[in-house]
Symmetry: C2
């Protein structure tokens, strides 16, 4: 099972990335610092877009960089791209081949912006159109659903952030990530048993907030790609502005709620969902108060700094999606209707 193998390759990939690409991250940070960057303009699709969501929070919180997510159709169909003066234009793509993402980079360069590609394909069109390239060096990813390239993209984003902040203590913190990911992989059998309960789940919502807004989106995307479950991701705040009306007894809510500054608001939401709405809860957390509310608790290692939790908390979510795919009798490596490289304009 290629998907399962690739999930298990993550500690080694991350360890190598931290070791090999520290210099790249520092050089990229130096070039960025030398320019008067007002904000980041980021283009990505699918899993890479979820990595972009992490950058939105991390670069905002730790590097004070606001982020605009590109609307590629303005560059392709409408051919009326916005004026990007003052922007760092970033493209994130595993394959580096999606024409719409390449268009955004190209336009950024034409407008004289600094451009950065984060990709697993340093020879790709995306990389060729960028001033700066961060190669995530994950090796060939064969399963259509991205796993190891997602955590590698997150790590690249974290390394660039640490280098930009010039905070050496952050470098020490993320060196622990591969070991935390290994700890999560030890729960493989438990997660395989837990997934059985959701054999006939057809729809669910996935909640996260702050740094783990990205994790909620990525968990939902894996479920949609692999298990064909209609899984809708939300920040817990957006969820309150309307969609919470959908929840009735037994409705499955998946939640990513590690310790940190948004934990209390997530805990309040989960308590409400369990006790007032009688929802079914699958909860990824390191805090007993959140885990105790769940029919299906998934325990994170203790002590992961909040900004790095997305790198660890996605791993049980990947395993959950993988085992639910098997429980439903579907193909983990080649989902119906998808190709590894999606060429949208």
């Amino acid at each position: 099972m290629t998907l399962h193998d690739e999930i298990f390759e993550q500690p080694a990939c991350l360890r190598a990335l931290i070791h090999n690409q520290e210099g790249t991250a520092r050089r990229i940070a130096e070039v960025i610092r030398a320019r008067d960057i007002k904000y980041v303009f980021l283009a990505a699709r699918g899993t890479s877009d979820n990595a972009g969501r992490y950058a939105n929070y991390l670069w905002g919180a730790h590097n004070r960089l606001p982020m605009a997510l590109a609307t590629p159709s303005l560059f392709t169909y409408y051919q009326s791209p916005p004026a990007l003066k003052g922007a760092l234009v970033v493209g994130v793509s595993q394959s580096g081949k999606s024409p719409d993402i390449v268009s955004v980079m190209d336009e950024g360069r034409n407008q004289g912006c600094l451009t950065l590609a984060i990709t697993n394909a340093p020879q790709s069109p995306l990389a060729e159109h960028a001033d700066l390239v961060f190669d995530i060096q994950s090796g060939l990813e064969k399963a259509v659903a991205a796993t190891k390239t997602y955590t590698a993209q997150l790590m690249a984003i974290a390394m660039i952030s640490a280098a930009l902040a010039g905070d050496e203590s952050r470098w020490r913190e993320f060196e622990n990530v591969p070991a935390w990911v290994e700890q999560m992989l030890l729960q493989d059998d438990l997660i395989a048993r837990m997934a059985q309960r959701y054999r006939y789940m057809h729809l669910c919502v996935v909640l996260g907030r702050g740094f783990n807004y990205a994790t909620a989106f990525e968990w939902a995307l894996k479920l949609k790609e692999l298990t064909y479950v209609v899984a809708e991701p939300y920040s817990s705040a957006d969820f309150q502005h309307g969609p919470i009306a959908m929840i009735e007894g037994g409705f499955p809510v998946l939640a990513v709620a590690p310790s940190g500054l948004v934990f209390e608001t997530m805990l309040g939401m989960l308590t409400n969902l369990r006790h007032k709405h009688d929802a079914e809860l699958v909860v990824i957390s390191d805090d007993d108060r959140a885990l105790d509310l769940a029919q299906s608790p998934l325990r994170l290692p203790a002590g992961v700094p909040e900004w790095l939790t997305p790198l660890v908390s996605i791993v049980p979510a990947q395993l959950f999606a993988c085992h639910l795919t098997l429980a439903k009798g579907y193909d983990t490596d080649q989902p119906r209707g998808l190709d590894k490289v999606t060429r949208t304009r």
Copy 2:
């Protein structure tokens, strides 16, 4: 039925808005033009966030303004807001009361940015924290699900865009919008009959692209709030990057596909969904090729300029959601679990 009444108030609201607020739009545009604005930083939740999606495309395409959507938790829980120098900070909120949106405006002002509130409550905390206020003058909205304030927000965004572009021909174009909306309302009975077919629909996806990316999100939100259907919105491009795997025979896909630059790509997607995936289609369009693919076609008036289609195409979507709510036997005015003002941090 308050919701139904408020949907029908839209032509009058829009007509009054165009008449009363032209001066406001022009004054706001003048102040914006006098500043060196690099990009827009917009904060909103729920329906207002969907209006923000329209601004993202319209101000990008017609005014060359890139847009960053705010991540309010960076301002509230994390208390590490990004550096906003060069940004026009915009808050969109019907009630003007959500504390997280007010926080973003407040921070923008503290950092010396120009701030703009688009709201139905010119005495609200949001308006009080803004340099510029666009009052959408929709009168009290009583139904919890927003309808007339949504189209009024879109109109405010369109008026500001036309004033910023200094293009008088655009002012003439949107003066036709109230009449187009009236034409849509004539289809009320037809839509009521059509909604019966979806009495037992529990989940669906909603597709749109470009300007109507906003319409897809707003249609999905109305369905979630009112009918408790799990309705997931996508751009047709993002949909191809994974979620299309969910679609099997009979799966309901709702689509907004008016004539315009993204029509051909939407048509390709709809053709594929109908003929290859055997999906059930509800299609809002003015083009027979798209309408003929649908089990449930919803015809738009001909000749609406693409940039204004979101103001017209949301109307059949609102009526569809309203009548489906009745078909399912739910309360149209007071959905379970929701209040009119949602106070998230």
